[in-house]
Symmetry: C2
DNA sequence: GCCAAAGCTGACCGAATGGTCAAGAATCAA
DNA sequence: TTGATTCTTGACCATTCGGTCAGCTTTGGC
């Protein structure tokens, strides 16, 4: 269905590229805030500094604009999905996993909220992706986690619930930003805060799943304390 | 602002009570799925089996209906906020906390999504609540957690981040239900699944925060394994 | 300088939006 | 039975929605 149309390439003149960028940025904000139905092209156009007709000229329709935003977010996400193998150090992989998910939430909070809104609404546009690509990705990581557990490198926790735990706890700081700020009384979270939260989540997950270092040949029962 | 209008009492005739219930249930579904702006009174009326005029007759306006739903959800939430004291067993408190949050998500998934949608949109109707009531609640629990840490009953983790971790990971199964089902390939999560997930989260949090039992006078370094 | 292509946009369309209202139907205490 | 209160609802309102289109200006290769 997506045919051969420039999915994210930089064809077209400089004018087109600039205007499309402005529209996409504005649309991401508006869709994230009000959902697909609640967002209006009028508001998107105003935030992009263009007449509504111009938005439709570049994007074709509200639906196409929305789908394009979702696809852009999925691409960002996929850029994070570097491969892992059972030979890797579980602690390092989990730590890197948490850190990179946290950075995506940090760098693209509107995109993160857009995605959340889509899922909240029952994922009408993403169902295929969820039960296809993403499912495969989860299953392959789950297999690695399971092998780690079999080798005694971590507790035999259900890998899928573990992945959901990491996803939810990291995405929380983008999706529920309003709640986090209201409760902490802050106006924004600093890079330092994010760093501390990342450390906290990493520590709890690794310790909570009983992750052990692979290097020592036999690790009978000693507790690693920390790091 | 809420004045003395029946916040949730059962005054009015049986007709009124029945119709209001139907409207509230339908509205919770529609608002949860499409957000405040995206929801239409027409759709709510259809799902409630009433003409649109009737919805407005009972609820006054879209805004009032929405606020009433939010308040109802906050009441359910508040019913969970039983007091805790530093004398309690940390493991028991955290376990009960996770379990009851999980049950609310389970029992009121639409309400949970409605709340999530409100926060996603910047919490325009709940900002006061977040930075008032809820903030106080969090701060008071955080103080208890901190005392536990001081007494060596758990690691010195930041209590606020810990609360957010529990909130996000439990609410995930209601808010991101579409994602969870798509990835697991299931049509619904069973009570058994929920029980297992609850156990998993409880174990990871308690172990991950190094929670120890208070009873033994001196608990130098023994690890509690489980339970 | 020419001219096709690309960019731009106000006017306009039917449909749907939240909300009002008046007039009738059902209910209920007396 | 009466009379007041509650309930019900279709017609209607101004506004906004996503989308179309014709006609204009600007751009850029030749």
């Amino acid at each position: 269905m997506a045919k051969a149309e420039h999915p994210s390439e930089q064809e077209g003149g400089a004018i087109r590229r600039r205007n499309e960028q402005a529209i996409l940025a504005a649309a991401e904000r508006v869709f994230a805030r009000h959902g697909y139905r609640g967002a209006s092209l009028q508001e998107i156009a105003e935030q992009a500094g263009l007449p509504k007709s111009n938005v439709l000229y570049y994007m074709g329709s509200k639906r196409k604009l929305y789908v394009r935003l979702l696809e852009r977010m999925m691409e960002r996400w996929n850029a994070m999905l570097d491969d892992i193998s059972p030979e890797d150090d579980p602690a390092e992989v989990l730590s890197a996993f948490i850190r990179s998910k946290m950075q995506i939430s940090r760098r693209h909070p509107e995109g993160s909220r857009l995605f959340a809104s889509e899922i909240l609404g029952g994922a009408p546009f993403l169902q295929e992706y969820l039960s296809g690509e993403l499912r495969d990705w989860v299953q392959s990581r789950a297999a690695v986690f399971r092998e780690w557990a079999d080798r005694g490198l971590m507790d035999p926790v259900d890998p899928v619930w573990l992945i959901f735990l990491i996803w939810s706890s990291t995405q929380h700081y983008a999706d529920f930003e309003a709640q986090v700020l209201g409760i902490t009384g802050r106006e924004a979270l600093s890079d330092d805060d994010l760093e501390r939260i990342t450390d906290f989540l990493t520590r709890v997950v690794i310790k909570g799943c009983g992750v052990r270092h692979p290097d020592p040949a036999a690790a009978p029962r000693g507790q690693p304390a920390h790091s």
